[in-house]
Every structure is written in C-alpha cells, then in structure tokens.
C-alpha cells in the first residue's frame, strides 16, 4: 500500500465540506500522524489540536470513520476501510475550525456538575489518611484516570438530543468526588447532578463506556449517581 486516501471534514464556514488527500503510508502511523502530515505537507490551513501525543492530555480526540477516538493512540491500520479513512471534528461540540472544536461547553458542564475539589482542611491540618482498600476509594479510583478528551461526550446520543445534559465525563467526575473521602461537598454534588441536566437524563445507552479510550466506565458511574440521588431523595426529601 503506497498511499492512504484521507477525507477531512472542513468547517464550519463550509458546512459538510469534505476534502480528500493522498497521504504516504508508513509502517507505524497514528491517525494524528496522518493529520499532521496533511497540515505540514499538503494544506497548512488545516486546523486541529494536539499536545502530548502519548494519550495523556486529552486534546486530540476526533471522529474517525464516524467513531470518536484519541487520534494519537489510534493506529491508522486499525481504522482503515480499504485504504480510506474519514476524519472529522468531535460530535456534540461547536466547531471552531476544521478539526478543532470549542471545548468550553464540555468544561462548563464539568464545573456545573460540581466536578471541582471541595476541601475542608487547611495546610495546618494533618494530612487525612486515605485507605486504598475502602470500597468508596475503589469507586473513586475507577474514574480518576479520565483525561477530559471528550470522546464519551461526543459518543453520547443523550447529549445530542439534550444540550443541557451534563454528559458522561462531568457526571463521572462528580461520582469520583462523591466517593472521595477528601471531598466535603457531598450534598452540593448530589444537588448539582440531580437537576434538569443531571444524571437522570441518562438513558443508559452505554456509548460512553463503549468508546472511552482509557477503558473507564461512565455508564456505571452515572448509575451510581442515580442510586445515591434516589437514596438522598427518600432520606432527605430532595
């Protein structure tokens, strides 16, 4: 195989505009390598986003053949259909230009779900012990490897249908903090995730868990939030 036929979705000024490129095939080549080759050799106006190139920063996610993926850790040979591949901007987020999307709605929801640390101690207090064997700690550890790549958010049909829905990543963060003994805002978190766009919008479709590149399980995290908010409703009446 000499060349890859790569279709890139350009936007947003030319909606649905697609452009094809021939890219030399290499023995070892990620989707991000392909996009970078196009930008460096064929079309310098192509906009996209990346940083670490090793699957840690979460900035290079794109739709690859209709499926959201972290492009720096996706080998092109795994996604080629014949010798073709189509690469587009992430779904469910506004396109800034070409393959770069505006991540603001994603991170705004992260904050709206109380996905921020709520500490109760000062630097003068002794360090609180964390027991790794504790069941709640296990739940918190399960979601802590999230890299904020927004792949789950792009995969979620509920986000597509309801722009107010907080989405899998933000809710999983809330679940992580809810189970973190160092976090002190349990009620605030439960309040935030049981509102209009909260966890009860989730239809358990499971695309978040199916596509998470780090093998995390937002579906189960959201189910946990559903249980805790329901318990809180019956105990506290809200």
């Amino acid at each position: 195989m000499q060349n890859l036929r790569v279709t890139i979705e350009r936007g947003p000024d030319q909606p649905n505009a697609q452009r094809e490129f021939d890219v030399p095939a290499q023995a070892n080549q990620t989707v991000l390598d392909v996009v970078s080759w196009i930008q460096q050799n064929a079309d310098p106006t192509l906009s996209y986003r990346f940083a670490c190139r090793v699957g840690m920063c979460g900035s290079c996610a794109m739709m690859v053949n209709g499926v959201p993926r972290w492009t720096c850790r996706t080998h092109i040979s795994k996604v080629l259909e014949g010798d073709s591949v189509t690469i587009g901007p992430l779904r469910n987020l506004p396109v800034i230009k070409d393959l770069a999307v505006d991540m603001d709605p994603f991170f705004d929801k992260w904050v709206a779900a109380e996905g921020v640390h709520h500490g109760a101690l000062t630097r003068d207090d002794p360090i609180a012990p964390v027991d790794p064997a504790e069941a709640a700690r296990g739940q918190a550890d399960a979601g802590i490897e999230c890299i904020n790549c927004s792949v789950c958010y792009a995969a979620c049909d509920t986000v597509t249908g309801n722009p107010d829905y907080l989405g899998p990543a933000a809710l999983q963060r809330a679940w992580t903090l809810l189970n973190d003994s160092k976090d002190s805002a349990r009620n605030a978190i439960l309040e935030a995730v049981s509102g209009v766009g909260g966890c009860h919008n989730c239809h358990s479709i499971g695309s978040c868990t199916a596509y998470c590149p780090n093998d995390l399980d937002p579906l189960s995290a959201i189910a946990g939030l559903k249980r805790e908010t329901a318990k809180s409703f019956f105990k506290r009446g809200r």
Binding site: G66, V67, R91, H203, S204, I205, G206, A210
Partner: protein
C-alpha cells in the same frame, strides 16, 4: 456525519439493547389500546367479541401473536436489565453471571412449557 457513520457509532451491544427496549416499548404502547378495546367488547358487545375471536384461528394472527410475545419478552428482559444495571452495584462479572443464570432458567422453563403443551 454520514448515515453509515451514524450507524457505526451505535453498532455496539449496549446501544442495540437500548433501541430494542425502546422500540418494543413503543410497539406495545401502540398495541395496548387496541388490546384493551377488544377486551372491553366482552362487556359491551359479547357477540362481536366472539366474531372477532374466530380471527385468532388465522395463521397470520398466530404469527402476529409470536411477534407480540417476542415484544413482551424483549421488553420485560430489557427492563430487568436496566434495573439491574442502574440499581444493583454489581461488578460486570456478577452481572454476566446473573444474566447467564436468568437465560438458563428461562430456557429450562420454556422446555418444560413446550413439554406441557
């Protein structure tokens, strides 16, 4: 996104289980008012009901009944699946075991049922 891409994104078992549950629910919702109307004939117009019930001897109606039982079964197990998924904090392997045990007992019950009729 193209239509093929739309389908590709959703081609995983959890999404298929979701859509099967949703569509069977809609189909049952369409069927139920008709079902209750027929039942109401027993009270309002029994002679008409008898006439209608002879229709159930027709093969096409019998085939439709198979479809109906399928919809009911699929919707019931879809609902049980959802409740287990959302309300029972089990590990994935525990859930697989429970699903396997349910499927096996359902199969055995069906075998007994077929033997009985």
């Amino acid at each position: 996104m193209t239509r093929t891409a739309d389908i590709k994104l959703r081609a995983h078992p959890l999404w298929l289980a979701y859509i099967l549950h949703r569509l069977s629910g809609l189909a049952l919702a369409v069927f139920l008012p008709f079902h209750f109307w027929v039942l109401s004939l027993a009270v309002t117009r029994p002679d008409q009901l008898d006439g209608f019930l002879t229709l159930t001897e027709a093969h096409v109606v019998k085939l439709a009944e198979v479809g109906l039982v399928f919809l009911l079964a699929v919707h019931m197990f879809g609902g049980l699946r959802l409740m287990a998924l959302e309300w029972l904090p089990w590990t994935p392997s525990q859930k697989s075991l429970a699903a396997g045990a349910t499927a096996a007992s359902f199969l055995i019950a069906c075998l007994f049922f077929l033997k009985a009729i």
